[in-house]
Symmetry: C2
Subunit: 214 residues, 2 copies
């Protein structure tokens, strides 16, 4: 159990997160850090969100992955500024990585920065990166036991997006339990039931985002 | 980037993993370490595997979770020896945790030890725990891009179980690409298409396991 090491990493991380937050505020950029399991639909959600906000809110994206640029290429097709972070093994983004990505990022030309974290339900919740809000995406295909198994993620998030609602007829999943348990862990959490693929519920999520633009 | 710290952790981990491996070998126990994203179906797969092996192979289970005992309780209903590890925040099992769990475990009364790792596609692949084989479970709901995004997991695994095949009619997922990319990363990998829920393909996986019992 390596708790002392982790504590030191987290302290140093918090200092850099505060610098990132200051920089983003200076440029009137609202930043949301999107976290989920691998394959829960983060990139598809970001694509749908950018399309829904087009003409109203200028979006920039930081993509976090162990390696590769597949997600950044998908986002780049939507002609928004995008930077790819390759963590090279680390299973989460940290504030220092985001600080590097923000160097040279056209912050004066965006209103909203969407950060796609590495797919992982544990460590991303422990590392603040300077965001205004963490939003968690949970695919209903993952089952209703996730809030109680990964509580920190739900406690740290302002928003829970319950995704892949279009698959509900084919699954034995209790979406009510997901929502109840998430609210036990975090009574303030805003919950949106969405399908990033078919557009279900996206309007409410996009309105929530729009209401936070500076 | 905290690479020096991670390197030291990994060295110490390897020494303890070797001790665990020696202990398991002494008791003629074959150990498989099951890794996946959260919600890919590890516990359901283990339940189906135990039922399929009943009367032929004596199974024991170590459950790894951040917190809680829900999975161990599910497995306990099948009347096999089970130990729950709560990692208390760590996003993976390490050799030291497994060493602790093996103290007092009835190794003389089992032939197969199934270790359910914490749901995470990154760090579990970096930490050997003394297992004979790593088996990775990928739910097709996670999409076909996972092998190229999380390559280490596929490179380290002897077996890839492509799970939730019963949902294929409702998804736009290219299972062929999953298998092709997995084999590019790891030409020796054995791939089984399964549905732990409805039993599809479970026979081949269980035969593979049975063939490795000492």
């Amino acid at each position: 159990m390596k708790i002392p090491v982790v504590a030191k990493i987290l302290e140093a991380n918090e200092r850099i997160a505060a610098e990132n937050r200051k920089l983003l505020k200076k440029h009137n950029v609202f930043a949301v850090n999107i976290m989920s399991s691998p394959g829960a639909g983060k990139t598809t959600l970001i694509e749908s969100t950018i399309k829904a906000l087009a003409g109203r809110v200028r979006v920039g994206v930081i993509e976090g992955d162990i390696q590769g640029t597949a997600d950044a290429e998908r986002i780049g097709k939507l002609e928004v500024p995008v930077v790819q972070i390759n963590t090279g093994g680390a299973c989460h983004l940290d504030a220092n990585m985001i600080g590097e990505a923000l160097r040279g990022f056209p912050l004066d030309r965006i209103d909203l920065l969407i950060i796609e974290n590495v797919g992982n339900l544990v460590c991303p919740a422990e590392f603040n990166v300077g965001e205004d809000a963490k939003a968690m995406l949970l695919s209903i295909t993952e089952g209703e036991d996730k809030p109680l198994k990964y509580p920190l993620m739900f406690q740290e998030s302002k928003v829970l997006l319950v995704n892949k609602m279009d698959l509900q007829p084919y699954l034995n999943v209790d979406v009510g339990k997901i929502k109840r348990d998430a609210r036990i862990l975090n009574p303030q959490i805003r919950i949106f039931e969405v399908s990033a693929r078919d557009g279900t519920g996206m309007k409410e999520w996009v309105e929530w985002l729009g209401g936070h633009i500076r």
